[in-house]
Each structure stands twice: as structure tokens, then as C-alpha cells.
């Protein structure tokens, strides 16, 4: 029996949650970001958005192709690492940039993720490209739940 991870209820009317921001004082040659969200699923989505925001201006990407993925790992940290690593792998394998992400996370013995991502084949003439992300690192990697929010810190190798 698997049960959906319980969502933390937030007061949407009182505050806006900034989905992610890049950090400037750590790992300066790479791209460090902090993401936050009211739910775990949203946190995974925001981390994926930060990862692809490092690579492309989303305004130039049309989400016209869908990819699906399923992942499983023992801890939430490892599942988030796998999720981002798999998206970076798919970016090279399919030569695609992703813009829209949706995930469902289940917990039984392990954490399981079912994700659907939408994006477009890379077109260097159409897309306003930024820096390619080589990999996710475990340096200062963190997933935590505060009173109100889920938060993650990730450093991407550029």
C-alpha cells in the first residue's frame, strides 16, 4: 500500500513563496540555488525549474513534447538528486529543454516519484540559451521542511 505524502497546508492568500533564487556567494564557478515551496511536489518542480532556468530563458521555449519518468530511492535527498540528474540526462539524450514539470511523490518502503515534463527540442536559433548544466552535485545539498515550507539547496556543476 502506498500513500501520497501528506501535503503541508499553506495560507496562499497571505504570502507569496519565491520558487527559487540563485545564490551568489557559494561555489562561484557553478550555479547554487535555493528553492522553496509549500508542498514537497512543488519543491521538486521548483528545483527542476531552477535547473533549466540556468540553461535557457523559459520565454523562448514552447512545451510541445512530453517525457515521463519514474524514479525510486530511499531518502528524499537522494530522490531529488535522482530527479534532477535524470532531467539533465534527458536534456542531452533527447536534446531537449524542459519548461513545465509535474510530479507525484509516494512513500511506501522507499520514496517513489512519477513525473511528467514538457519541453521542446533544442534549437540554438530559437532558444535564448544560457550555460549548460553538467551535473547535480551533493556539495551542501539539502532538503528540509521548516514550519511552513519545504526548502532545498542545490549546487549544479556548470
Amino acid at each position: 500500500m502506498s500513500s501520497k505524502v501528506k501535503k503541508k497546508k499553506g495560507n496562499k492568500k497571505t504570502s507569496q513563496v519565491r520558487p527559487f533564487r540563485f545564490l551568489e556567494k557559494i561555489a562561484i564557478a557553478d550555479a547554487a540555488f535555493e528553492a522553496q515551496a509549500r508542498t514537497l511536489e512543488e519543491l521538486f518542480v521548483n528545483c527542476a525549474k531552477a535547473t533549466f532556468d540556468a540553461m535557457v530563458d523559459f520565454k523562448t521555449v514552447t512545451p510541445n513534447q512530453v517525457e515521463k519518468l519514474k524514479l525510486e530511492n530511499k531518502t528524499l535527498e537522494d530522490l531529488l538528486f535522482d530527479w534532477l540528474a535524470e532531467l539533465i540526462y534527458l536534456k542531452d539524450l533527447k536534446a531537449m529543454l524542459f519548461k513545465e514539470f509535474s510530479v507525484k511523490i509516494y512513500k511506501n518502503e522507499n520514496y517513489r516519484l512519477e513525473g511528467e515534463v514538457k519541453g521542446e527540442a533544442i534549437d540554438q536559433n530559437k532558444h535564448e540559451l544560457r550555460a549548460d548544466v553538467k551535473a547535480v552535485t551533493y556539495h551542501l545539498f539539502e532538503v528540509k521542511k521548516t514550519n511552513r515550507l519545504w526548502k532545498a539547496k542545490v549546487i549544479l556543476d556548470i
Binding site: 532558444h127 553538467k134 551533493y138
Partner: protein, 483 residues
């Protein structure tokens, strides 16, 4: 800075092993007072973390271009004994065998300048760069596996190189011990279409001119191919692309589990490691060699495309244009090398992450054509400030496990650089200074602005004063291709 540090001698600072619980050896940070003072805290945290890894010998080191990385600092060097010491992907980097390649020409600035825009257009077309770029060589999985084992030999056999290129590459472009069976399907699929591509970030291809008034060691310059004023060279900076990145990712996971089995604890998960002699350590070494050989092949195919581009623009054979390889160095790698420790010659596993091998004259590992003078050391600077060619020394063998700097080293985050300058402004400014830019990404260009880096002259002066390599000549960019 939270650690106590003392100066061992001019240019070498030491953090004693009493400064952090678990340090097995002291940490040494190299550089002038100014360079060391300006290094970010990450360098000192990371180099002392490295000093805690099992089997480390003598010191954990950071070169003068050091800055905050992940796992090891960039500029990090550490040597481990083979029996009980570890191997760590975080001590090599995801971009396995990222390195530099320098090519000479018989052309001068005066001959190239009128055709420079045309030449840069042709190179931009011939050497794919940026996010999502694919190479022109179409490979089957078996051909790719052959590349993992043979490296540059595969390229030469298949018409992408000259036989004399081989003797001008570290390890002759082919490291022994590749294990393609230890490479995941993910890694193979990710890398198969990227042979001959530059990538992005700080990777570049530059057309450069050797500054006649900046030749510091004329004898070595001559041996390395400098034979006329204002001579044109080409410099390439790139690595093993998605293939190496995936191998790094795969083994970071595998080593995370292995550490529990071997009861190894590290201060940063990115330092995940396994004993070199363990099955996991051996598997990673074999897979890492596959990526290293594919990186040599990647830079070789790029050289092939450069030769074609020059030949087409200047309407002469590449041989006639003197497009000879000067040398190719790795700066993200682990290799087995011999050092004298406590009066005995020992084989050690030397990790270099953002550091170049710097072997001096008469070492058997140095290719015969350069053995009398020492191994060329190629140090890439920012695209605005220029680069240097140096030569290895015996002092490096004694002081730094045969290692020196690899570049100028960042001092500013990518985001801050982008806030300070727009890519289009920077392009315009550089073109006014006579540097022709071809870039897939304007924001990527801004991130690599010269002011985001340390002063390369200060870095190479530091390694020259320390004697761990000697300056040979300086190169100034006139054409820059970025991903």
C-alpha cells in the same frame, strides 16, 4: 578565515592537521599573499576536508588559481596510496579529463587578421558549441566503446588525426585500464552523439597570437614551435562532455553506498569515495579512463575540424599551414604516478581537479620530443586577458606531486558577472579591441567576462616564482568561440 595558517616559505601556506578534526595530513595552499588572502572560504574548508580522506599522503594541496568547487576545491591536488587510499569522483570533477590543447600554425597575425571574421564563422560552424550541441561523427555503440579504450588512436585510425599528433598528448592520448563494461547505458547514450563538441560554461576555442615581447624562455618556446614574430596559435578548452558527466554522477551514487560498506566517513557528500583497490574503486577507475580517453578523442576531432576550417579559409593543406599540435594536457583526472616518499619510490594515485601535470626535463613519462626541456603546461586565461604556455619542472615533482595551476580561477559568481555586463556590450567592447567573438549564448559570454577571474599574470607568476613550472610565453586572443 577560520583556520590558522602559517607560511612555510614564500608562496606556500600550511594549515596544520590540528586545525580540523579528522585531518590526516596538513593542507597547503599555494600563492602570493594577495592571491591567498583573496581566496574564498570554500577553498580552505574544502582543502582541509580533502586532508581527512583515507590514505592521503604528505599534504592536501590547492594551487594559486584555487577557488570554491564541490568536494575538492578547484585547483585541488591530493595523492593517495594504492592499497588503503581512496579514489573520489569529487577529486576529479564531473568533466573527466577536461583539458587544454594548443595548436601552432605557420601563419602570422598580419596574415590571419584580414580573414579572421570568415575564419571564426567557419570554425563556429565546424565545432558545435553550447547547450544541446551534437557532433558530426556518427558512432555506433561499439565504435564508441572502441574510443573509450583507444582514445586518440581511434581518431588517427579513422582519419581524424595525424600519427605525429599522438606524441604531443599527455599519456599519448590513450590511458591504459579502460573498462567499457563498467560504463552505464545512460552514460553511453548521453555521450555518443557529442564527439567533437565544445560544450559551454568556461569552455572555449580561441585563435591567439604569441606576443613577441612576452617570450620568457626562448629555448623552450622554440622547442614548442615558436618560430616567427606574431605567430598564430589555437587553444581549445573542453572535456569529456555528457559522457564524463554521467560517469561522475553514476559513481557518486555507487560510492555513497560503498562508503557505508567500507566504513568511510567524509565531511562533504561530494567527497564520496571508495578504496582504490576495492571492486568499486577499480570499476570507477576503469570507467573514468573511458571518459578520459573519450575526452582526448573529443579534442582530437575538434583539431581535425580546425584543420579543415583553416585549410578552407586559407586555401592550403593543413600540413602546409603548419597546423601541428603543440600539446594536450588533462586538468581533471586521477593517475597513477611514482614519487619518492620517505626514501622509497612509491606508486600513488594523484587526483588533480583543476590542476595540470607539470613534469620536468628528463622524466621518462614526458614525450621524447620534449623530454630534454620538460612537458608543456597550457594555462588558459579568461577570454579577455589571454593565456600562457609554461613548462614543467623537477621542483613540482618534489613539492606538489608534479602539479601546477590550470587557469586563472574565478573570483566572481556567474550571476554577479551578468549583472555587471551584458553579453552584447562585452562582445562589442572585445570586438573594438580586435577580438572576434562567436558565441551561442550572450548571457554565457557575460558570465565569462575577464573581470570575473583572477589576474592570470599573477597566477602564473606565483607558480613561476615557486618553481613548480616556468613561464614560456604569453598568448593573446584575437578570436573566441564560446558555447
Amino acid at each position: 578565515m577560520q583556520y590558522k595558517m602559517h607560511k612555510v616559505k614564500e608562496g606556500i601556506w600550511e594549515i596544520p592537521k590540528t586545525e580540523k578534526e579528522g585531518m590526516l595530513v596538513p593542507a597547503r595552499v599555494l600563492g602570493t599573499d594577495k592571491l591567498v588572502k583573496e581566496m574564498d572560504d570554500g577553498v580552505f574548508n574544502q582543502v582541509t576536508n580533502v586532508a581527512c580522506l583515507p590514505g592521503i599522503q604528505k599534504y592536501a594541496l590547492c594551487m594559486p588559481d584555487g577557488h570554491w568547487g564541490y568536494g575538492f576545491p578547484i585547483g585541488g591536488v591530493a595523492a593517495f596510496e594504492l592499497e588503503k587510499g581512496v579514489i573520489s569522483p569529487g577529486g576529479i570533477g564531473f568533466d573527466i579529463n577536461c583539458g587544454m590543447r594548443l595548436v601552432k600554425t605557420n601563419l602570422t597575425l598580419e596574415e590571419v587578421q584580414p580573414k579572421l571574421p570568415q575564419l571564426m564563422d567557419k570554425i563556429f560552424y565546424s565545432v558545435p558549441a553550447g547547450v544541446g550541441c551534437k557532433g558530426f561523427v556518427k558512432l555506433t555503440p561499439n565504435q564508441f566503446r572502441e574510443i573509450m579504450v583507444k582514445g586518440v588512436d581511434w581518431c588517427i585510425e579513422n582519419g581524424y588525426g595525424w600519427k605525429e599528433d599522438k606524441e604531443r598528448i599527455e599519456e599519448y592520448g590513450r590511458i591504459a585500464g579502460a573498462k567499457p563494461e563498467k560504463v552505464s547505458k545512460h552514460a553511453l547514450q548521453r555521450g555518443m552523439e557529442q564527439l567533437g563538441t565544445l560544450g559551454s560554461g568556461n569552455h572555449y576555442l580561441e585563435v591567439q597570437v604569441a606576443l613577441t615581447d612576452q617570450v620568457y624562455y626562448p629555448e623552450a618556446a622554440k622547442v614548442f614551435g615558436l618560430d616567427r614574430p606574431n605567430q598564430i596559435f589555437i587553444m581549445v578548452h573542453c572535456g569529456s562532455r555528457g559522457f564524463g558527466h554521467q560517469i561522475g554522477t553514476d559513481y557518486l551514487r555507487i560510492f555513497g553506498d560503498a562508503m557505508r560498506r567500507y566504513n568511510i566517513k567524509v565531511l562533504d557528500r561530494e567527497l564520496a569515495c571508495a578504496p582504490y583497490s576495492s571492486p568499486e574503486g577499480q570499476d570507477y577507475f576503469g570507467a573514468m579512463v573511458c571518459a578520459a580517453n573519450s575526452a582526448f578523442a573529443n579534442r582530437q576531432v575538434i583539431l581535425h575540424r580546425i584543420r579543415e576550417a583553416f585549410s578552407e579559409v586559407f586555401k592550403k593543406d593543413p600540413q602546409e599551414l603548419g597546423l601541428d599540435l603543440v600539446y594536450d594536457v588533462c586538468h581533471n583526472i586521477a593517475k597513477i604516478e611514482e614519487y619518492q616518499l620517505n626514501g622509497q619510490i612509491k606508486k600513488l594515485l594523484v587526483h588533480r581537479k583543476g590542476s595540470t601535470r607539470s613534469f620536468g626535463p628528463n622524466r621518462p613519462e614526458v614525450t621524447e620530443i620534449y623530454r630534454k626541456i620538460g612537458q608543456p603546461v597550457i594555462v588558459g586565461g579568461s577570454m579577455e586577458t589571454g593565456s600562457f604556455l609554461l613548462v614543467g619542472t623537477e621542483i613540482a615533482h618534489q613539492e606538489t606531486f608534479g602539479s601546477t595551476c590550470h587557469g586563472s580561477g574565478r573570483t566572481m559568481s556567474r550571476a554577479e558577472a551578468k549583472r555587471k555586463v551584458r553579453g552584447s556590450e562585452l562582445k562589442e567592447k572585445m570586438e573594438k579591441r580586435g577580438i572576434v567573438i562567436r558565441s551561442v549564448s550572450m548571457s554565457g559570454l557575460a558570465e565569462e567576462a575577464g573581470f570575473a577571474y583572477k589576474d592570470i599574470s599573477e597566477v602564473v607568476d606565483a607558480v613561476d616564482s615557486l618553481g613548480i613550472s616556468k613561464k614560456v610565453l604569453q598568448l593573446r586572443p584575437i578570436g573566441n568561440l564560446k558555447g
